[in-house]
């Protein structure tokens, strides 16, 4: 469980940051919904898991939050990227690409050396 959640936490954080980058300020439910849609509904997680991840990013200073009103006039807590968050997206994205590239080479058939 811990190892798996580490990977999940890492990717989830990146997904959240990327979502906020492309969508602008958004509330927790919106972020979860958006991640679900972006993944083409292939990724189906409990929305609850998004809140500890948001808290972690906020503690690390990558995102900020404030209460506001949603499109349909509901009170909700909106998250937005901070400057450090924007840099972090770049870094994490590059890191991710490198990792997937490496993993991909391992998985590619007939290319073991």
């Amino acid at each position: 469980m811990p190892e798996k959640s580490d990977v999940w936490q890492g990717t989830l954080a990146l997904m959240i940051l990327k979502t906020l980058e492309s969508m602008g300020p958004l509330h927790g439910y919106g972020i979860a919904r958006r991640i679900e849609q972006t993944s083409g509904d292939r990724l189906s997680v409990n929305y609850g898991t998004i809140y500890p991840a948001l808290l972690k990013l906020e503690q690390e200073g990558y995102i900020g939050s404030e209460w506001g009103l949603s499109d349909n006039k509901r009170k909700a807590k909106f998250y937005r990227l901070t400057r450090a968050g924007h840099q972090q997206v770049e870094r994490e994205a590059k890191e991710w690409e490198r990792t997937t590239a490496i993993v991909a080479r391992f998985l590619a058939p007939g290319e073991q050396s």
Binding site: H27, G28, Y29, G30, R33, N46, Y47, G48, T49, Y51, P52, L55, K56, Q59, E60, G61, S70, N72, R74, K75, A76, K77
Partner: protein, 887 residues
């Protein structure tokens, strides 16, 4: 960086208030609301919409919990939980908790008390001074009882010739009269070299310290620095005191400064009332120029080592210079000339000369008491853990880690230890003061300001935590090793109780017995030593003798007038009702000051560099009769031994044995005070410094031939000596109303003062021993009672199978006896090895005194067996059918 920031936020988050909880709830609520709305919009019925939203969220409470975990630091969170839980457990078991806390408080309190004494004597020898660890006390030859001193010219040569010191100062401790306004008052002054305050880095709170120029001209610096206390008491804290004139021994002095409140002088435990330059001694105190006299050794030296210079290097350097001086001036250096240097924590001039052995010894003994207390509490915990086995097994089986269980138990131990430490500090706040109460009320300028300070507080905390770990670790380790399945299955335990646990508690009981035997032996030895010290014959009879001193020098008497005064005074006192005998003496045995004479003895040829200094005293007629020192041959001084008659002396038996063995001493000649005298009497040996000293050669000079301006009058009276004080003072004041009468004491108090160490040790070690006895008794009783209870079923079975009651008693007692014997054996072996470290403080008692060993072992054995007998009798009364039906 981000890590730290997150960690700090989480640390704060641990103590999250209610509004953070509410905010989380609101956020989740808004999430659900948004989700439900979406669901409804996509066509679900409201109930289904809500249900789906909840499912997708993954449960409100679960989300909250994982959120909280991220918000705070889980480890700190659970620690707080452990503390809260531990607190509840301790609260539930008040009897156990009280007993454990009390035991620990006594054990820790014993340690913090002794530590507070060490802290304010050995660790902080000179209050008010800075970096005293660099300062050393320097003596010439001699021992703790007799630190050898220096003449002024020698001091100057040593100071000029040595390179080891950033400052080397000299001082003499000397009484003088504060005259002028109000009643004359006797003060303890120090005449000091001008760098005295600089060496100790003491800066006056008012005015200045002495200037280098004040070290140069004989009688040229009539200035004084006051002790803060004297300034407050005698001068009402006058802010304009600097510049005021005061009269010391009737000579005008200008006050130039006031010392800081904490600073009491440079001898640990002694108070100095004021300081004057050493240059003023001639005129004010001695009446002759001694600054050029190499034979007048009255100065003590202390110096601050330069950085990087070791105490041994400094000692070596001074010894070399001193050897040169001894060769250059052989006539004035036929005493001991080797230099000794001591760090202040064991400097011979002052209380540390005695404390530096005694206090660490008491500390070690207190440490043993604490170990014993730990063993006791550990045993209590082990016994109690039986009733908690199920609780712990359940916790283990529902998934608590073993570390978590251990931590829970350790937290409880720490709570107990800290509570014990708290009570111990309360005890210490009271008990530190008892050190001062061991010094009887006396005219000595004692100053032992012992107070628990921050260091003591921190030490108490450290001791408490260490204690908690020591007694808590064993029970915690055992609990963590429990097998939950076995325990939950067996439910009630086997017939005879866990064998392993019985062995562990048994071992702890053995340790307790052994430790308490050791402590009791130590206590027994100290108490016997103290009793012996009290019963020792000091060679004179200290009961019913009153002492009082006065000084004729500041009053301007010549030696002829002084003799006349002394004569009239003796006549008056002898005529007082109730006075059986009276006399005068320059110094009194067991006092702070003493005299030494360099002598030549007829017919005795000294070896090369042999020290021919002999302790001496100038005494009046009837001195031996008043002190009740037996005369062995010849006669004692009479009123006719005066300036116009043949010079005479008396000697003690030890002097005869040393220098004139197997010869008749009467009629032999002694050279002292610059002339030859004839021995007219030989006295029995008596004590001069310490009750337990070896007999040493002693020379009595006649007071009416060898004038002393500040004698002590002594009178043997019927009844309470202190009751005759007013009459005695009246007799003195009838002859001169302006004389300050000082150092009024009974001779018996002097005996008490010099046995302070023995009394202190006897009392404390005795109390520690009593505590040890109680702890060991409770300990072995607990073990036997517990094991008997564990074996109730076994006993029931045995009885059902036909064992009789006597057999059962024997069964239980045998276990107790076995533990007791092992414990006593171990304790005796320990004591034999360890008590030898006490021998320096044991007065007239061997450290392996068989009487003490036997008596202690026997009585402890009996107490232990008695403690076993109670549970044995209870076991005897077990009803088989009741015992078997249990559970």
């Amino acid at each position: 960086m981000r890590r730290t920031r997150a960690w700090l936020l989480r640390l704060l988050g641990t103590f999250a208030g209610r509004h953070r909880e509410q905010e989380l709830a609101a956020e989740l609520e808004s999430n659900l609301a948004l989700h439900i709305e979406d669901n409804v919009r996509s066509g679900m019925p409201p109930d289904e919409a809500r249900r789906q939203a909840l499912i997708r969220l993954g449960g409100v409470e679960q989300t909250k919990e994982s959120y909280r975990e991220r918000r705070g630091l889980p480890s700190l969170d659970t620690l707080l939980q452990d503390v809260r839980y531990g607190w509840r457990m301790l609260h539930k078991n008040l009897g156990f908790t009280t007993l454990a806390i009390l035991t620990l408080a006594l054990g820790i309190g014993a340690n913090t008390t002794i530590f507070s004494w060490i802290n304010s004597t050995l660790l902080n020898p000179i209050p008010g001074a800075r970096q005293t660890s660099e300062v050393v006390s320097i003596t010439r030859g001699g021992t703790v009882n007799e630190p050898g001193q220096f003449s002024y010219p020698d001091y100057l040569d040593l100071k000029a010739g040595s390179k080891s010191f950033s400052g080397l100062m000299a001082f003499a401790f000397r009484p003088l009269d504060l005259t002028g306004s109000g009643k004359p008052e006797r003060l303890w002054a120090a005449d000091v070299s001008a760098n005295y305050f600089d060496v100790f880095r003491v800066r006056p709170v008012l005015g200045r310290a002495f200037l280098p120029a004040e070290d140069e001209k004989l009688n040229g610096a009539p200035v004084a620095v006051l002790n803060y206390g004297l300034w407050q008491r005698r001068f009402g804290g006058d802010p304009h005191i600097v510049g005021r004139t005061i009269f010391l021994n009737r000579h005008p002095f200008t006050v130039v400064g006031v010392a800081p409140p904490a600073f009491q002088g440079t001898m640990t435990g002694l108070r100095t009332d004021l300081w004057v330059p050493v240059m003023m001694e001639q005129e004010t105190m001695k009446g002759y120029d001694w600054t050029h006299d190499r034979g007048d050794n009255e100065l003590m030296m202390q110096g601050r080592l330069k950085p990087g210079v070791s105490i041994d290097e400094a000692r070596g350097e001074l010894t070399l210079i001193m050897q040169h001086l001894a060769e250059q001036f052989p006539d004035s250096h036929f005493g001991h000339n080797d230099i000794a240097a001591y760090p202040l924590w064991r400097a011979p001039n002052g209380a540390n000369g005695y404390f530096y052995i005694l206090l660490p010894m008491l500390m070690a003994i207190a440490g043993l008491v604490l170990l014993l207390a730990c063993a006791n509490v550990a045993n209590l915990l082990l016994v109690r853990s039986v009733s908690r086995r199920r609780e712990i097994a359940i916790r283990l089986s529902v998934g608590a880690g073993r570390w978590r269980v251990m931590r829970q138990l350790l937290v409880e131990s720490a709570l107990l230890a800290l509570a014990g430490g708290g009570v111990a500090l309360l005890i210490t706040a009271w008990s530190t003061g008892t050190l001062a109460s061991f010094i009887p009320p006396t005219s000595f300028p004692m100053s032992l300001d012992v107070r628990p300070d921050r260091t003591v507080l921190l030490a108490g905390l450290a001791i408490s935590i260490a204690t908690g770990v020591i007694f808590g670790i064993l029970p915690a380790l055992r609990a963590a090793r429990l097998d939950p399945v076995a325990i939950l299955k067996e439910e009630a335990g086997s017939a005879s109780g866990g064998r392993h646990k019985a062995r562990l508690t048994g071992a702890l009981a053995v340790v307790q017995l052994a430790l308490s035997l050791l402590l009791l032996v130590a206590a027994g030895l100290f108490i016997r030593a103290f009793r012996r010290a009290q019963q020792t014959d000091p060679g004179f009879n200290p009961q019913h003798v009153i002492l009082a001193s006065f000084d004729l020098f500041p009053a301007g008497y010549t030696s002829k007038q002084g003799h006349e005064f002394d004569r009239q005074l003796l006549a008056k006192i002898t005529a007082m009702p109730g006075v059986q005998a009276s006399s005068l003496a320059g110094t009194i045995p067991l006092g702070l000051v003493h005299d030494t004479e360099m002598v030549k003895l007829e017919g005795y040829v000294p070896q090369l560099r042999e020290a021919m200094d002999v302790r001496s005293d100038a005494v009046g007629p009837d001195y031996l009769r008043t002190m009740q020192i037996p005369l062995l041959a010849g006669r004692e001084f009479t009123a006719r031994d005066d300036e116009d008659s043949q010079p005479v002396v008396m000697v003690n038996q030890a002097l005869v044995d040393r220098y004139w063995p197997n010869q008749d001493a009467i009629g032999k000649r002694v050279w002292a005070q610059g002339h030859w005298s004839i021995v007219v009497g030989v006295t029995r040996n008596s004590a001069y410094d310490q009750l337990n000293e070896k007999a040493r050669p002693f020379l009595y000079l006649p007071l009416f031939q060898d004038y002393t301006s500040h004698p002590t009058v002594l009178a043997r009276v019927a009844g309470d000596p202190m009751a005759s004080v007013p009459a005695l003072e009246k007799a003195i004041h009838e002859l001169n109303a302006d004389l300050a009468v000082y150092d009024v004491d009974s001779l018996a108090v002097r005996v008490e003062i010099v046995s302070t160490n023995q009394r202190l040790a006897g009392t404390f070690v005795g109390a520690f021993g009593l505590l040890a006895l109680i702890l060991a008794t409770v300990g072995i009783y607990g073990v036997i009672a517990y094991s008997a209870r564990q074996r109730t079923r076994e006993i029931g079975i045995r009885m059902a199978l036909g064992a009789d009651r006597r057999h059962v008693v024997r069964l239980v007692l045998a276990q107790g006896l076995r533990l007791t014997l092992v414990g006593l054996g171990l304790g005796l072996a320990l004591s034999l090895v360890l008590t030898r470290f006490l021998s320096s403080q044991l007065f007239g008692i061997s450290a392996t005194d068989p009487v003490t060993f036997a008596a202690v072992a026997l009585s402890l054995g009996m107490v232990a067996l008695a403690a076993c007998y109670v549970p044995a009798r209870r076991a005897m009364r077990v009803e088989p059918n009741v015992a078997l039906r249990q559970q």
